[in-house]
Symmetry: D2
Subunit: 260 residues, 4 copies
């Protein structure tokens, strides 16, 4: 059974900071946001976790394998090198949406995102080492079938982008409402979801739903491990299997639950 540890990363007082004393050059904000995310990706990624840029001022990380000291070090390092600080809330649950609920809650209880006195919250429970298992993290890596042939090489870039976005919006809502899974667009035509234990037929149903609602055809590779990196890497390899075998759902290992 999955047991997801999620961390909400929230920049303290960011909205006000971006316009005080005057609005700042937009491209400088874009640069700061992207490089902050990149640093998080390196810190968390090198500890076998995943981070998603989400809204940039609020980011979601899968942190199975990172303890409280790791979170504290991350906070300190960012405070030493950026003109902003981070609040971090950690939550654990068998269901990703509930885990994120917990992570968000501990930050919200400490104060508003725009409370100028709330700085560097570090709160919540991490999954103890002795409770970790190879089934803790399930990751599904989706991509669009023949995106290059159907879209990138044929439409103008914005119309391709609209297609990908519609597919993403549909998948993100369906997986969240049906299963409490959290889905993130990661570039190109790729979406990565953090899921509870889902079966092959549940993935097929999600794919059918997106095709029906948005007209976008997806395929998916699924992996499970004690941490996001290994689960995600297995999912990428499973996605390559889809490519080679012409299938639309592949698991790196046999799925945990029965499928039809």
């Amino acid at each position: 059974m999955t047991n997801t540890q999620l961390t909400l990363v929230q920049i303290d007082n960011y909205g006000p900071w971006t316009v005080t004393p005057e609005p700042r050059r937009e491209m400088d904000l874009q640069t700061l946001q992207s490089r902050l995310f990149a640093d998080l990706a390196q810190f968390v990624g090198s500890r076998d976790g995943y981070v998603f840029f989400t809204r940039f001022d609020n980011m979601v990380a899968v942190t199975n394998g990172l303890d409280r000291d790791d979170h504290e070090l991350l906070q300190e390092s960012i405070a030493n090198r950026y003109p902003v600080t981070l609040s971090l809330g950690i939550g654990v649950d068998r269901n990703p949406a509930v885990a994120l609920e917990r992570a968000t809650d501990v930050v919200q209880r400490a104060g508003s995102a725009q409370d100028h006195e709330r700085r560097e919250v570090l709160s919540g429970e991490t999954l103890p080492m002795e409770d970790r298992a190879d089934s803790d993290v399930q990751i599904a890596h989706f991509d669009v079938n023949d995106a290059t042939g159907k879209y990138t090489d044929r439409l103008n870039e914005f119309d391709t982008f609209i297609q990908i976005e519609q597919g993403y919006a549909s998948l993100m809502r369906h997986l969240r409402e049906e299963h409490g899974a959290l889905s993130f667009f990661v570039g190109g035509d790729n979406i990565i979801s953090i899921t509870p234990d889902l079966t092959a037929s549940q993935y097929r149903a999600a794919i059918d739903h997106v095709e029906g609602e948005a007209g976008v055809e997806l395929k998916v590779g699924v992996g499970t491990a004690s941490n996001a990196h290994e689960a995600g890497f297995a999912a990428k390899h499973a996605l390559e299997d889809c490519r080679h075998r012409g299938t639309i759902v592949e698991f790196a290992d046999a799925p945990l639950a029965a499928d039809d």
Copy 2:
């Protein structure tokens, strides 16, 4: 009248590169993509343009003010510092969607995004200096009314994110289909659109449409100038006017077309 110069930035052969000889660590790809975007934001931004991360392997830039030599230097600098190269297509038109059509077209005609022999295309027309005018670029900066109070401080981050995404998906489709305007989520609760000359009532109609379709309330500041930075900066200030006056549409200067 607007006269938008857009550049499509496409990483050459990226899909194959990410899985050759084996899939690469996802967090390293996220880091590379974000830092590449950040470098483009600095290069283009310091020349008063704008860049949007879009799909990261394909990015859209508003490049009024950048000439062919600037594009060539950008390409060379990226090739010197990254393990990938860029193809750049430039297009100019009074309508942003048509300009992007042109920019995408010159890259597509040179070869597929996954053609391993196609590298560093640099093609298309820039807007000559003598033809530039203060009305060339119109930028609309949208944000969500009281996002912090309604969403960030109340819902878990993913449900807040879903709300913002639905609002974005609705706005991007409406503005593209109605006006050929191109809209980009830029973090937080902010969306920046590159538009042709639109009136206050056309913006109000867009805002009403999004509220009806997605239940998300937007407000907008609009600016016009010869380049993206100045137009966008004026738009940000106009958005602050919305905040102070409690209005939902503000223009930095009087709108060019009649409104009601």
Copy 3:
């Protein structure tokens, strides 16, 4: 005749900032310093200037081609993205050491490097566009003969490093005292000097001096142009000529002054 425009880049109040309220992690300081330098290298370099990391809290840039607005934008962009700010002093003179004297002086007169109230000085004269000429900047690019064979592949890295440092220390003093030229180690076995108009025999004398004092054998390529990038690029090509022809002094073009 050379006419060098130099900019002193000084981080405001850096010493106190690094230990307030407590000393900061050394590797975070190294990261901040290096990335700040890298951003300066991109900003100045894309405008055909050169920057040298020097002491990191104080850096020297050759800014022929950058005007006051460019300097102001650089200052603003750094202030938007880093937890520190920069003071910039600009000086112009036919002799590089005198130009730097001027650049340093305008910053010093505004206040101490550790005066916590002195922030973002921007002062000094730039070389007007109409006064620029192809002879303004002379750059000499030195490297150590067969560094890889003699040192890198034979000694432990620190002993190789000591050799390179002794050669650098000797060259930097000699060229400064004899000619007012400013020399900077730029990595590997490379030293770049900003010089007034020097002749081939003056370069040979410098090379002989370093061999005698430090036992390190150098060769040099020299280039001249209206800006650092073009002068330096020509110098690099001239250095390649040394490699191919087995010579120790090569000019990209005929030297301006007589040689023997």
Copy 4:
């Protein structure tokens, strides 16, 4: 007794790469070198090690606390994100210079730094966890007495820089020849040395030597711990003690060997 684990970090085939097919823009090389160093500083620093930029194509790291898997991950991550690759040699010894000898040797035996076929060497022994002790790493953090008052606020920046360099060159040679200690300039007026167990009188002798040879007055804080970060942090605090007490040598704890 100290037991230093050092890693030599060498960019593969860098010299040839920088000029193939043509020389590359110098500021792009500076950017790549600095950002590569910054990434190493973050990776190693967040694992409580230290990295020194040294010659940028060859860097020295104190890696007590990093095992072979850490080194492998670092190599992989750099290869995923840069146009160059790294060879890593690891060495352990009670004397830092000997440890570096070992680290350099395993890389040299695999092939020349400019052997285009030698890529990504990973070789050498790490200090086993069970053999680690709180006395493994001794770090001395030197700075120049009143550098701001004597130099930065009075001389032009290059003449200040020459002073600092002469002091560094003198200290680096003395400590290497007398004790096998390795010293690195880290910016500002700061030098960090990795030493074997040295006494207060040995540090005083080094300071006297530098004053006599170069006319530069240093003070030093010394710390010892099982890893570079903790030893260095203790050294920084000891240096603050020098500042407050007006002394020139301070140890974070009582020195291990007798002093006079």
